[in-house]
């Protein structure tokens, strides 16, 4: 079943089409959710909410060829919305990170290659929510700072500032992780 038929079936609320769409796109969309969520439970909440929205709003999809991009964008927007809904409950902790004391990543780029995706994901998840959102939007989704400012209801300078700090924090966490690994090996 191609995307066109799939979208048509989903618009007609056919369970079979919905099931196929879920099976076809659940993996990549869960990957997005894992990046944006603070934890796996958080990611599953976003994932479930995203798919509910997908099936509710698939009538708005005018070009079935762009199904993948539409699903991705909708999932990202759901993650942003999820972040906005729950930000009250989350404590602010950027000051806990000592961003100055980290090893320069240029000294050991091979360090990154030693980390698998799950390890990198766990480091991303440790970022403060705002940092993580902007890091994901800018670095992985390819949003510009202007777009980020729009969807996050902030401004470009704030986006730049947070991205800078997110990268610093990530580098620091990677350095610390390598230090620990080195100590273990030693």
């Amino acid at each position: 079943m191609n995307n066109q038929k799939l979208v048509k079936g989903c618009k007609a609320h056919k369970p079979e089409a919905q099931r196929i769409l879920y099976e076809r796109f659940s993996g990549p969309l869960m990957g997005i959710c894992l990046r944006y969520g603070r934890s796996r439970e958080d990611a599953e909440d976003i994932f479930q909410e995203a798919f509910i929205r997908i099936f509710q709003q698939i009538d708005q999809l005018k070009e079935p060829q762009a199904l993948g991009a539409w699903l991705r964008r909708l999932t990202v927007n759901t993650a942003i919305n999820h972040y906005r809904k729950n930000k009250r409950l989350r404590e602010y902790m950027p000051d806990e990170l000592d961003l100055e004391n980290h090893r320069n990543m240029s000294q050991g780029p091979e360090i990154l290659d030693q980390l698998d995706n799950e390890a990198l994901l766990s480091l991303i998840n440790k970022l403060p929510d705002g940092y993580r959102m902007i890091f994901n939007l800018y670095v992985i989704e390819g949003y510009s700072h202007k777009e980020i400012a729009e969807v996050m209801k902030t401004n470009e300078n704030s986006s730049k500032s947070q991205l800078y700090k997110a990268k610093k924090a990530l580098k620091k966490m990677i350095s610390e992780r390598n230090l620990i690994e080195d100590e273990r090996r030693a």
Binding site: P15, M30, D129, G130, S161
Partner: protein
Amino acid sequence: MKEEHDDKNFESFFRDRFENYSGKPASDAWKNIQAHIGKKPAKPPLYKAWWLGIACLVLLLGVGGMLWWLPSTPEMSQSPTTQKQQTPRPLANDPSDTLESEQVNQMMAQPDASVPIPSPKASLAQGQKDILLRSETERTSQYLNQKPKPANKAWNKGQPKEVPNIREPALRAETLETETYVPSYKPPKLSRTNSERPEDAIKTKKDPGNASTNSFEPLPGISNQDTEPVSNQLTKSSSSPDLNQKRRPKARTTAYSLALLAKKGTVFNRTNSQRIQDNILLGQKKYLLGTHSLAERPQTRRHPPKPSYLSFQIEPSFAFYRVLPNRKDDIQLLDLPENQYKVDQNLGIGASIHWEQRIFKSWSISIGARYSTHRGQLDYTFQQFAEDSSEVIVLSPNRFVYNPVYQAGDQRLNFSYDIWGVQVGARFHPGKWRKDNGIGLSLALEHVSRRVPQSVEEETQKQNSINPALTLDYRLALPIGARWQLRATPNIRFNLSSFYQDHAVRKIRPYHWGLHFGVAYRLR
């Protein structure tokens, strides 16, 4: 430079790793999603509801207006004045016998018995009178012996010859009584002497004994003095009984009509569907004063007139807002759940003027204009992401940002808006006539002019929009005198569209409730 290069490498590394990263969802995720799918049916597009509402309102006003104008048309189209001024048409074959319309009108206008009715030939010399009387007597004999002919064949086509079932109770009773009662007839006194009257000549020639059977008795409640000017009715000859039977009700109808005409100065109408002649017989001549439809309703109204009012109201109101998500495209995905809607409020004062018209017993429609102004404060929260607050401060007056993670403080900013609008509405009055209390629903189209501060430095920006609003109210009216009313109207008004349509992320929709009070003047 090197650091920038490192940054790019760092970013590209993460992009490559996670661009197509896939995760494994929970095993029960699909079941949970399936359970949620179909719970919330898609809302119909807003514009459909809009068109439906507008169509209903237009239909209501159209049908209401039609029903309001239709029943009043027969009454309005033929007023008593118009009927009075109908030009009389003579029944006599000879055009020379035609009664002048001025004379008939004068008679209708002056029903007083003290004023003698001028005979058509009263102004003639005495010598000519004898000749005329003779000729009149001869013509009358011919007239009574021949079969009755309709005065106007075209007019009488398709009409029954008799006038059955006259619904006027007084008239029916009178008719029955007259048929059995044989009074001694005393001809009324006119300006001529009795010996000159052609009736006497008929009695003498034909059958004087039957003259009394065709005589008229004054109607109850109407004195001889009242009926005298019009009681110069012709008695019919008994030589043609069929003719008598057919003509009698019509003649009595005419007598009754003219008696009422003389007494009240109005043309008598009956609630029947036929057309009736208003005849007058002077001497042996029968003159057609005019005709009237029995379908023409009596001039007395069954109900009080449908009143119309001009009202003026002062409208203090309390407004509160719900900040709603904007449902446009992808921004739709950024909406807030219902439990996180923002609520704010302010106070306003306004005035309105309305014209209201009762259309049915229990319904009325209104149209009016209103103005109101509102002053209040809105909550704003500015975000501070950097340690140095001067570096990044995000203030979004239209966005209603609240409780962000990096909240540094709240700010309350002054806010105001003015509303001009036109309003149409319908009201249901559950009470009886003249009870003007009732439940009203009205639709307003409002021009909203907002002055919104754009920053903490109170830079204001003016924004305009057209917003529809729906008002639900219950009006209490207290009559003061014959025409004035004091009115109080508790109400709630819903703005059907956002005040901030131009804003991409959030929209705000105010609700107003208030107690309007004012006065109303009854125009009719």
